[in-house]
């Protein structure tokens, strides 16, 4: 019972906050709502017995990614509203509505396939983190290493892209920019 209450509460909150992200005119509201949404999603993960994943979600997404976005927000004058030229909003909602409808219809169908068997079954007796560790460092080792290299590359790329002139301040020289 707790599960269903938790599920519905989390889901409503998540949907509302994401809708805010998508439709609001204020950039700060969008940012905050996104952060909130991330946390709530980690709540889902905890509900689904994916403890490790939930923690990683909080740490990486809500911590690192949102912080990055917060830095990105520095490009805006956040006191004014975002002015966006929306061409034909009805078409967008219609399109997305259609997709949503289709997905819901498809996914509501009872999925009762008994031919699906677990590839990496959960080990009994150990907690989720240990199980993840066991699988991650044995069966998924190569993707793990590759992901590590990719993160390194992304980091270096990010630094180089964004920090060309390290001795200049971006905000102070904003008026003279336009290269």
């Amino acid at each position: 019972m707790f599960e269903s209450i938790a599920f519905y509460v989390f889901s409503i909150l998540t949907i509302v906050s994401f809708v805010v992200v998508v439709t609001t005119k204020n950039a700060l509201y969008a940012l905050s709502s996104l952060a909130a949404g991330m946390i709530l999603i980690s709540g889902f993960f905890f509900l689904l017995n994916a403890d490790f994943l939930g923690v990683v979600q909080i740490v990486v997404y809500t911590g690192a990614v949102m912080a990055l976005y917060a830095f990105g927000m520095m490009f805006f004058d956040t006191t004014t509203d975002l002015t966006e030229k929306h061409g034909n909003p009805k078409a967008v909602f219609a399109l997305s509505g259609m997709i949503a409808l289709l997905l819901v219809v498809m996914l509501l169908a009872p999925i009762a396939s008994s031919h699906v068997s677990a590839l990496y079954p959960m080990v009994e007796g150990v907690g989720n983190s240990e199980a993840v560790g066991m699988v991650l460092f044995t069966k998924y080792l190569i993707p793990f290493e590759v992901a590590a290299v990719m993160l390194l590359v992304a980091m270096i790329g990010g630094i180089i892209l964004a920090g060309k002139k390290m001795d200049e301040s971006l905000t102070l020289s904003e008026q003279g920019e336009g290269q």
């Binding site: 078409a91 967008v92 399109l95 997305s96 259609m98 997709i99 289709l102 997905l103 498809m106």
Partner: protein, 624 residues
Amino acid sequence: MEKYLYIALFAPLLGSLTAALFGARPKTLFTGLWTSALLAVSWISSILLFLHVYADPSANVVHVEMMNWISAGNLSIPFGFVVDQVSVTMMIVVTTVSTMVHVYAIGYMSHDKGFNRFFSWLSAFVFSMMILVMSDNFAGLFIGWEGVGLCSWGLIGFWYHKQSASWAASEAFIMNRIADLGMLIGIFLIYWNTGTLQYDEAFAAMNDLEHALLITIGAFLFVGAMGKSAQFPLHTWLADAMEGPTPVSALIHAATMVTAGVYLVIRANPLYDLIPEVGYVIASLGAFVAIFAATMALVNRDIKRIIAYSTLSQLGYMFVAAGLGAYWVALFHLMTHAFFKALLFLGAGNVMHAMNDELDPFKMGGLYKVMKPTAILMILASVALAGIYPFAGFFSKDKILEVAFNGDHYILWGTLWVTAGLTAFYSFRLIMLTFFGDERYKKLGFHPHEAYSYMLWAMAPLAVLAAIAGFFEHAFVDFVTTLLPSYEFHTHHVEMILIAVTSTIALLGIGTAVTIYRNGMLHPKWMENPLYKLFTNQYYIPQFYEAAFSKPYKELSIIFWKQIDMKIVDATVDLVANTFFNVGTQTRGVQNGNLSTMLRWMALGLTLLLTFGLIFVVAATLLG
């Protein structure tokens, strides 16, 4: 002997092609000399062939098949040529007159810019005519038929800057074309029913065909002959064809092209022997045309047109003979007529050149003093035309009148008899107005002079032939009737009387003309006569054709152009093009470089895929 056939046939072509090379250049005397020389070669070859065939007519006919032309399924048409009695006669006539005209034209066209082009067309014409007379099947005949039509167009409209000349050329060609449709239908019918277009095989097979079909074939073939030989109602082009240079009129519209129709009827004599009804219609039409043309020549004020109507009239005579079954008589008259008519035209050319291309005899007069040789030649030709003994016209014309009388066709005979009188009258009207009487030209400031001597020498052989050709009648008959059917005359007892009657009216006509015109023109009071007006306006037939055919056709053409072609056809094609263009313009927005737009299109694609996937899955589960 076959090499002479090829020489006779292709020498004019060679001349024509070489002259064509110089077509755009100013006059080079070489072209005139070269083409005339080649024509002379062809002439000599024709004479050699004639002598060969004459020696033994039944065995010495030269028949060659040059190459295969069409061989498709059951249809086999070769390029074949035959030199038999009829075709060798035509060849002699054509080459003789052509050679003389070529030499004459060197002098006549000597001041013309298109000298080289003229000789090219002229030799091409002779080549086509040779194909026409030498071919041994209907398809080759038709090729030559069309070829002479084309060259006639090119030569009538030779001075293409003149609007009247271009118009006359087109009129001639179109009228010929209309008739050619009839001839083509006839040829198709022949092929369809006999399976072959070769003369001998087709005629042999015709004996088995039913009578109505034969009448149809004969009628259609005659329609083709009507166009080429300018019988009523397709006659208006001949008078207008006088827009071309005079050598052209001499060659084409006196001696060769217009006789092609008569040649066709003579060649198809096995067919026409089977359908005497059609022959009678041909003869009646011929007689009508004879008197019809003679009446129009009585009052005309253009020397070339008078001679042209005279040709038309004589063609009517030939058709009377051919229609009544006396084919050799028609051929004989064709031959003699070619000589003296060509001579008449060439003489008229001399007069025109002397009078600075003036055509109205009312503005001439008394030219005898200045142009004696031309006058003598023309008088000789006119006498031959009128049919006075001992000149050639007497023998041939008399024979035709005898043929008409022989078959008890007294109306035909009467018509032709009156026409003979009219012929004599207008020929000598022309002579008197031009060469005798008071010298009207002096007031108008003309300074006439005689033509070059070599031109007169070119006319001389024609004069000689016009004089003596009649005496070869018996030899001719014996020669030709080995191929053509001979004609039985039952009128030997009245023969002398007929000759006397005919000669009387001819002399009467000459006498009347000399008397009336001795002192000059006719009283202007005559010109108010309604009959005179009718004749002068050619029975108002050209006006009728203009109103009844030309105008409506032009209106129809304009409708087709403006309404159908521009509005419907063009609009449809433009619609197709515009549709593509507009579709392109509309769909250009898909790729406008805007990320948002591209994402939307992506989402649309996703929707479509999901829909299809859903439908597919549902269908799969429902249908199992």
